[in-house]
C-alpha cells in the first residue's frame, strides 16, 4: 500500500483533535540556547589539554621529496608530531563504510599532495601558540607537479593524474563505469524532429558552508581504554565509524558526544578533525583539541562541489519539450568524499519535474587539484535545478510563452512515466505554479488555471519508449568513449543490460559484496522481441569530443505488445546502493 500524500486526500479526515499541527511547540533545545548552557563540542574543559595544528600543503599538486620535523619536535611545548606513517589506516573514503568507492584519501599526505591545504604533518603542543610556532619549523621539500583545475580538462587524454586511485581522473562507478548514465527514449531522433534545439552551458561555483562554528573535535582518554570524543559531526555515528576505521580500534572504544552542531549545512560530515584528534589522544594519553581556524574553514573545509552542466532541449512551437539531454561534470576536487553520491543524485533529478518523452544524461565526477568537495544542502540536485529552471525560462522566451504556463504545460502529472522508469505519483507542480502565480498576481490563462496534476497524465504518457543504447561512458578515456548505438531496448524495457558483471577490487575485504552492489544480468530473450537494428556507420557523425555526439540510429522497432514487467537488476538511481527503492 503506497502512501498518498496529497492534501485533498485527507480533506475529509481532518478533525479538531490535532494537538501539534498548526500550533507552536517549543523546541527542547531552546532553553539551552538562550541561556548559553548548550554545550557545543568546544565548550568542554579538560586539564592538560593539548592543541593540534596541521601543516598544510602550500601547493596544488606536488611530490613530497622529504619531511623534516626534527626542529618542530624540539620546539617548546611540543608533545608529539604526527606523520602519515603514524596513522594506522592512512587511506580512506567516506562511503567505504557502505562499500561504495575505493579508499583514496590519506589523513596525512605521504607521497604526494593533491590540493593546496592538504594536511601533511600534525603538531600537538601544550598551547595553541606553541603548536602554531612549531608548525613553522617543519621543513617539507616538494617537487611541483602539473596541475589541472577544470573538470573537462581533467578528463582529456594526457591530463595530469590527480588521484592515482582513479587514474582516469573520474570516479569509477562499480569499478567499471566512468559516469552515471540515463537513457530514456531517443533524444537524437527527437532533436531532429524538434522545431527548436536549444543548448546552454551552466557553471556553478564551489560554495563554502561557512558555519559560524568551525569544524573541530576534542578527544580525551576515558576510563577502560575508551576515548571520549566531543565532535561537531553532523553524522555522529558515521564519523564514529570513520574514525574507528582510520585509527584502527573497535568502534565500542569510542564514545562520541555530539548533537549540538553550530551550523553544518553539509560541511560537517567529512570527519575532518575526529581521526587525528583521537589518534593524538591515543598516542599522548592526553586530551587533544583540533579546531580549524576561520581561514582553514574557508580555504580547506570542503565546499559544495562546482558543477558544469550542459542542457540541450528539443522544443516544439506549441510549448512541448520533446527531448532533453544533460551532460554534467561534478568537480570532486582531489578526493572523492561524497561527490560520487552527488552525481547519482544529480542523475536522479534529471529531467526535473517535467514530463519529457525522450531524456538522456551523462553525469561525470571529475578529479581536479582543488579542495575536495562534499555535501551541502541538496548537493547534486540544487545545481541541476538552477540550470534547468534557467533553461526553462530561456525556452519559454524562445517560443514567446508565459514562463509559468510553460511549466504548467510540461509538468509531470500523476501516472506519467519518469525517465527513471517509475510512474509519477503525488505530483503537484501544477498546483504549486498556480498558487505561486496567484500570490504574485501573475496573470495566467484560464486553461493554465484549470490544469490539474491528477488529470491528463498516464495513458500514452505512461509508456516506456524504445531506447537506443550506446557504449559511451563505459570505462575508457574520453577520446575513445564516443561510440554508436549498439542496440535498441524495446519499448517497455525497464532494465539496461550490461555485458559484464562488475569486479570488486575496491571491496574492503577483497571479496564481492553481493548485498550492497547491484548485479547485472543479461536481458531475458523474448521470442516476440525483434532483433535490434544494426548500427549504420554511414549515419554516424564525425567524433568531436567532448561535445555531445548525436547518434543517428535507425528508427526504433515498433514497440512490442509486452507490457513493462517489474524486473530486478535494473540500473537504479535512487540510492547509493541502487537497491533501496526497487
Amino acid at each position: 500500500m503506497t502512501l498518498e500524500m496529497r492534501k485533498e486526500i485527507f480533506a475529509d479526515e481532518r478533525d479538531d483533535n490535532l494537538n501539534v499541527v498548526g500550533k507552536g511547540v517549543q523546541r527542547q533545545d531552546m532553553p539551552g540556547h538562550v541561556t548559553a548552557r548548550t554545550r557545543f563540542f568546544d565548550d568542554h574543559a579538560f586539564d592538560g589539554l593539548l592543541h593540534l595544528k596541521v601543516v598544510r600543503s602550500p601547493h596544488h599538486h606536488a611530490r613530497i621529496r622529504s619531511i623534516d620535523v626534527s626542529a618542530a619536535e624540539r620546539a617548546p611545548g611540543v608533545k608529539r608530531v604526527l606523520r602519515g606513517a603514524d596513522v594506522p589506516v592512512n587511506k580512506n573514503t567516506l562511503l567505504s563504510l557502505i562499500n561504495f568507492g575505493k579508499d583514496d584519501e590519506p589523513s596525512l599526505a605521504v607521497d604526494k599532495v593533491r590540493y593546496k591545504g592538504e594536511p601533511v604533518v600534525a603538531i600537538l603542543a601544550d598551547s595553541e601558540a606553541q603548536a602554531l610556532a612549531a608548525r613553522k619549523l617543519v621543513r617539507i621539500d616538494y617537487d611541483l607537479l602539473p596541475t589541472v583545475f577544470d573538470v573537462e580538462e581533467a578528463l582529456k587524454p594526457g591530463a595530469p593524474v590527480v588521484n592515482e586511485t582513479y587514474p582516469g581522473n573520474y570516479f569509477e562507478y562499480h569499478q567499471r563505469f566512468d559516469h552515471q548514465k540515463l537513457r530514456f527514449g531517443d533524444v537524437e531522433a527527437a532533436f531532429a524532429r524538434a522545431d527548436h534545439v536549444i543548448e546552454h552551458r551552466y557553471q556553478m561555483s564551489p560554495i563554502e558552508h561557512a558555519p559560524t562554528e568551525t569544524n573541530g573535535t576534542i578527544a580525551a582518554p576515558d576510563q577502560n581504554g575508551r576515548y571520549l570524543v566531543h565532535s561537531c559531526a553532523q553524522g555522529l555515528f558515521f564519523s564514529l565509524d570513520t574514525t574507528a576505521k582510520i585509527v584502527d580500534v573497535p568502534s565500542n572504544r569510542l564514545h562520541f558526544v555530539g548533537g549540538t552542531v553550530g551550523g553544518g549545512f553539509g560541511g560537517k560530515v567529512d570527519s575532518l578533525t575526529e581521526p587525528l584528534s583521537v589518534l593524538g589522544a591515543m598516542l599522548t594519553g592526553r586530551p587533544v583539541r583540533y579546531v580549524l581556524d576561520r581561514e582553514e574553514e574557508m580555504l580547506y573545509g570542503s565546499p559544495r562541489g562546482a558543477e558544469r552542466i550542459y542542457v540541450k532541449d528539443g522544443l516544439m512551437r506549441d510549448g512541448r519539450i520533446t527531448a532533453r539531454y544533460i551532460r554534467s561534470y561534478f568537480d570532486a576536487g582531489a578526493y572523492t568524499r561524497l561527490s560520487s553520491y552527488a552525481a547519482i543524485k544529480c542523475t536522479a533529478h534529471v529531467p526535473g519535474p517535467y514530463s519529457i518523452p525522450n531524456v538522456a544524461s551523462d553525469i561525470y565526477v571529475a578529479y581536479t587539484n582543488r579542495c575536495p568537495s562534499t555535501a551541502m544542502r541538496g548537493f547534486g540536485v540544487t545545481a541541476v535545478d538552477f540550470a534547468l529552471e534557467c533553461q526553462m525560462d530561456r525556452l519559454a522566451e524562445v517560443i514567446d510563452m508565459d514562463p509559468v504556463e510553460f511549466r504548467i504545460l510540461n509538468a509531470y502529472r500523476d501516472g506519467d512515466m519518469k525517465a527513471h522508469r517509475r510512474l509519477a505519483k503525488n505530483t503537484a507542480l501544477i498546483e504549486c505554479a498556480q498558487v505561486a502565480a496567484e500570490k504574485a498576481n501573475w496573470p495566467i490563462s484560464e486553461q493554465a488555471r484549470r490544469a490539474s496534476s491528477v488529470t491528463g497524465g498516464g495513458g500514452e504518457r505512461a509508456q516506456i519508449p524504445a531506447t537506443p543504447v550506446d557504449q559511451r561512458g563505459q570505462i575508457g578515456r574520453p577520446d575513445t568513449r564516443n561510440s554508436p548505438a549498439t542496440q535498441t531496448l524495446p519499448a517497455g524495457t525497464t532494465r539496461i543490460p550490461l555485458s559484464k558483471r562488475p569486479v570488486f577490487e575496491g571491496a574492503r575485504d577483497g571479496r564481492p559484496a553481493p548485498v550492497q552492489v547491484p548485479r547485472y544480468e543479461a536481458p531475458r530473450q523474448d521470442a516476440s522481441r525483434q532483433e535490434p537494428p544494426r548500427y549504420d556507420p554511414a549515419l554516424a557523425p564525425p567524433p568531436a569530443p567532448p561535445a555531445y555526439q548525436p547518434v543517428s540510429a535507425p528508427p526504433a522497432p515498433p514497440p512490442p505488445a509486452a507490457p513493462a514487467q517489474p524486473q530486478h537488476g535494473a540500473v537504479r538511481f535512487s540510492s547509493v546502493f541502487g537497491t533501496r527503492r526497487r
Partner: protein
C-alpha cells in the same frame, strides 16, 4: 613569556586569572574561567559570536586583550538570567523561535541587551543596526529582530541590562 595577573568582575562575581600579555579575553573566559557563553567563530572580529559586555559596552572578546579588562565589569549570556528567571530578551528569543543552531544566540542576546540598555524603544532599523555585527549563518535574522522588538515592547529595557 611571563604571565600577567588580571582581575575583574564576571557576571557579578570577582574572578582572576594569569594571562599571556597578548592573550585575548575570549580565551581567558572560555579556557581560563570556564565561561563557555561567548563562542569562537572567526578570531578576527567579523562574526560577533564572542560579543560580551565590558562596562556595559558590547565588545568582541576575541579582539579584546585580557589584560585591558583589569577592574572592569564583564557580562556574558551565562549570567543574563536572574537565577531561574529568564531575562525578557531570553524569553522573547524562546517565544519567537529566534535560534536555529544556537551558536550565534549568546552574541545576539548580548548585542540586543546593550541596545535595550541604551535605547529601550528601538525602531526596527535600530535593531538591525545593533545586530549588524553578529552573523547568523542559519539566516534566522527575522525572528531575531522580532524577538528583540517584542522584548522592547514588553519593557525589557527597563530592567538592569
Amino acid at each position: 613569556m611571563a604571565k600577567l595577573p588580571v582581575q575583574f568582575r564576571l557576571n557579578g562575581s570577582d574572578r582572576a586569572g594569569f594571562v599571556d600579555p597578548a592573550g585575548n579575553l575570549l580565551d581567558l573566559l572560555r579556557r581560563g574561567l570556564g565561561d563557555f557563553g561567548p563562542k569562537y567563530g572567526c578570531g578576527q572580529g567579523t562574526c560577533g559570536v564572542c560579543t560580551v559586555l565590558v562596562d556595559g559596552e558590547p565588545q568582541l572578546a576575541c579582539l579584546t586583550l585580557a589584560v585591558s579588562c583589569e577592574g572592569k565589569q564583564i557580562e556574558t549570556t551565562s549570567g543574563m538570567a536572574d537565577g531561574p528567571n529568564l531575562h525578557p530578551l531570553q524569553q522573547a528569543f524562546m517565544d519567537s523561535f529566534a535560534a536555529q543552531c544556537g551558536f550565534c544566540t549568546p552574541g545576539m542576546l548580548t548585542a540586543a541587551r546593550a541596545l535595550l540598555a541604551k535605547n529601550p524603544n528601538p525602531t526596527r532599523d535600530e535593531v538591525v543596526e545593533a545586530i549588524s555585527g553578529n552573523i547568523c549563518r542559519c539566516t534566522g535574522y527575522e525572528p531575531i529582530i522580532a524577538a528583540i522588538l517584542a522584548a522592547a515592547a514588553g519593557g525589557a529595557g527597563m530592567r538592569r541590562a
